[in-house]
Amino acid sequence: MQAGEPSLVTLSGVAKRYLTGTLALRDVSLAIGAGEFLALLGPSGCGKSTLLRMIAGLTVPSQGRIAWPGGPPGARDIGFVFQEPTLMPWATALANVALPLELAGIPRREAEARAAEMLARVELKSFERAYPRALSGGMRMRVSIARALVTKPRLLLMDEPFAALDEITRFRLNNDLLDLWQAARFTVVFVTHSVFESVYLARRIAVMAARPGRITADLAIEEPYPRGEVFRTSAAYAAHCREVSLALEAAMAARAA
């Protein structure tokens, strides 16, 4: 987060110990700026999901504080995208996207109109009436993203959303996500274990180490948006990837020590 930028949410000295005794996170401090695109990068088991779920309010920290300087988030301020599309199989794409609005008590007509708009934004206009099982993995993920964005959230949390997709689909969804972010300027926290994906997407990367989970490096990727295939093949991209890989290696070594 750049100096002087207002922060959306601030974690100070956050720790999480599960009932099983696992210390998933220890002393995590992190200020997430409004409009930022932050990637959480780290090996499996370093507490990325735990951190994300704590920001979402789905898990409470055992220690430390999570503060929202601009006021606590409302029921529609946070969107969440899981690793799996996590759609309701008995509902159409449209009904799935309309769900957050309907849960908030918005009348069905209006909710579906807004959901349809959002589906069009993720290029699924002609699939409104399709059931999830009739959609491809990439399309399901788009529906999931549309659902997360339909409430116009201030904060979008994504937990390895594209990990299960093939590379072609992943690249495409990366670009679509950046377009959506550029257009609406919500804040994104994007969990990934791919160095390349994090460098391509994020403006800032928090590198994490495991056992106990903690942040070991906080790197800025000062490259202009929109980023496209030109960026992906540029020397600057390669340099950033090298830098982040080294930071990740150091984080893994710290764990082994």
């Binding site: 779920r53 789905l58 029921a75 309701m88 008995w90 509902a91 769900l99 309907e102 908030a104």
Partner: protein, 274 residues
């Protein structure tokens, strides 16, 4: 009837095989049965042939159909009450773990106790004979619905549950929009089992009660025919019982298919699965 089958009947080549193959076997067995009874000259009071049974079915249709209606009424009512109560109780269990833990063992006890053993008691305790038959059929039918629906209500995808929590959904919204739809295939599977059980329960209870008069169901017809050594009529009643059971199963399968076909794996068309 071609191998392909017209699409409007919704049957593929394999669908027709599934329909025609058992039919062919059935016809072959019936033919053999008829042949043996004729050639060996087996008297009808020992083993009537299918043709005689069919004739009896037509000749005695008036009393038999009246009894069929009685049995059907009890079966349908028992199934309806079992479905409603099973579903309600399962929802209650899903809302409160304490209620589930304290009541579920009794549901199990009700299930494992043989109905023939409790039926006489129920018939003594309850004055109205129809009501006592209904209770017996209900006892047998309700457990599969209860236990299946309970499992279904607890099978919710935990990520979806988190999503509902994120949007601060009320308990009611979680139940109505998430838990119940998840439980639907489980409930319907239970219903299909219970349909047959309700019929069995009704028949067993009728046997125990041995009711005569105009409130008598198919089981009484079987008993009566047995006493009077009208064996063809006994078989005719038996045929009706089996046919009823098959019809109930097919109907519930159809309902289940119509409700689930658009989204659930169990109801996927064969062609689509390929």
């Amino acid at each position: 009837m071609t191998e392909e089958g017209p699409p409007r009947l919704g049957l593929t080549a394999e669908g027709w095989t599934r329909l025609l193959a058992p039919l062919a076997i059935g016809l072959a067995v019936l033919g053999l049965w008829e042949g043996i009874t004729r050639w060996k000259g087996i008297p009808p009071y020992v083993l009537p042939g299918p043709v005689l049974i069919a004739e009896t079915l037509v000749r005695d249709w008036a009393p038999l159909s009246a009894s069929l209606l009685v049995t059907l009424k009890i079966t349908a009512l028992a199934l309806l009450v079992a479905a409603a109560l099973g579903l309600m109780l399962a929802v209650l269990f899903a809302q409160s773990r304490v209620v589930e833990l304290s009541l579920f063992p009794y549901a199990v006890i009700l299930q494992v106790t043989p109905i023939v053993a409790i039926a006489p008691l129920i018939i003594i305790w309850v004055d109205d004979i129809t009501l006592s038959l209904l209770i017996c059929a209900w006892i047998v039918a309700f457990f599969p619905i209860l236990s299946n629906t309970t499992v279904g209500l607890n099978s919710t995808d935990h990520n979806l549950l988190d999503l509902f929590r994120l949007y601060r959904a009320s308990r009611w919204q979680v139940l109505w929009r998430l838990r119940l739809p998840t439980a639907m295939p489980f409930f319907l599977a239970g219903l299909r089992i219970s349909g047959g059980l309700a019929l069995i329960g009704a028949i067993v209870a009728e046997f125990v009660a041995g009711t005569g008069g105009n409130a008598s169901g198919l089981a009484y017809r079987i008993l009566e025919a047995g006493f009077q050594l009208q064996i063809p009529r006994m078989f005719a009643a038996l045929v009706l019982v089996s046919a009823t059971g098959i019809a109930i199963f097919l109907m519930l399968s159809l309902i289940s298919h119509l409700l689930l076909r658009r989204w659930h794996e169990s109801a996927l068309g064969r062609g689509e699965r390929r």
